[in-house]
Amino acid sequence: IIYLKTFYTLSIGEMCILSGVEMDKEESSVESKECCTRSELVSEDGKNLKSVLCQRCGSKVLCPGMAVYSEKELFLPPMRNKKAPSLTEGSGDNLSAHWLVDDMYTFENVGFTNDVGRIKYLICADCEIGPIGWHCLDDKKSYYVAVERVDHA
């Protein structure tokens, strides 16, 4: 089991190194859509107007008004679920639009992966799809959820 875990960690680590980013068409269209609806998502004071939900199972990640919109370039490995982990893929996304919270207890439901270097990826607490977000152990006051990788309602 320990060996397995190490293998898993390494695989994700490798994906980070092999960050040959390929934005597929679908995702860039999501981004442009995101851009136009930003005013629907972000309040005047920079908070999330809507609940942040898992795209796959609808599990609630954040309540409205609990996170701050933040732009920061972060690399996230591709979304996957545990049934078909795409650990061998070297692709992923550089994402810049995030919901930022400074305390993990702000989340309604969220999962944290094991450490990948100094990074813990955020996943859906219920269906475990992810990564939906990013946390660096060197900054315990920053938890990012990628706007593109969650639903808003």
């Binding site: 898993y8 005047e44 094991n114």
Partner: protein, 240 residues
Amino acid sequence: MDPRYDRQRRAGGGGSSNSSPALGSQSRRRKIPPRPADFKLQIIIIGSRGVGKTSLMERFTDDTFCEACKSTVGVDFKIKTVDLRGKKIRLQIWDTAGQERFNSITSAYYRGAKGIVLVYDITKQETFEDLPKWMKMIDKYASEEAELLLVGNKLDCETDRIVTKQQAERFASRISGMRFCEASAKDNFNVDEIFLKLVDDILSKMPLEMPSRELSNSILSLQPEPEVPPELPPPRMRCC
């Protein structure tokens, strides 16, 4: 910390443990203000390999039970929120899957736990026979106040049952304060009840005035470092 902090905060209807200054005004504008957590509790799930610890954790709030999922890779812990007795409770749930060798689970897991779910498989005698070894770890490392719940999992495999309910009841009755139930993560039988019951027991033991700030100190932090003030980037208005 001011012990009344959390209650004041609730009465005020704004703010959260982030203490973000902008949040108060945001809350007042909203019809239903975002409610911060009233309590934060750490729960660990332990038990021998393959008894279904991870499945129990997943079944707790969702319906994506996956027949194929074998053993856990990757997930460290989860934050889950439950509403109970009109309180919003954030659970930090540590699934120890992958660390089943008794000595490999660090004492830190046990130390902060307010609730411990000890799981065995009703179809596998050895997982039941392992229980005293797990109890030894609990006795050694866990807080005496920690609520204990023994769970006989895989009730959906009743035809393959090896461990009788009476055997397990007898085991649990010898340990003071230990509750027992059988469950099926696969059929979602008793799973929500397990956690709700455990949380309910934890809450009922708690003095009402106990501030969640104080409680949160018992929770494992990702990095045991001194508190640093949050550095939030300036909020963005819109991009286009």
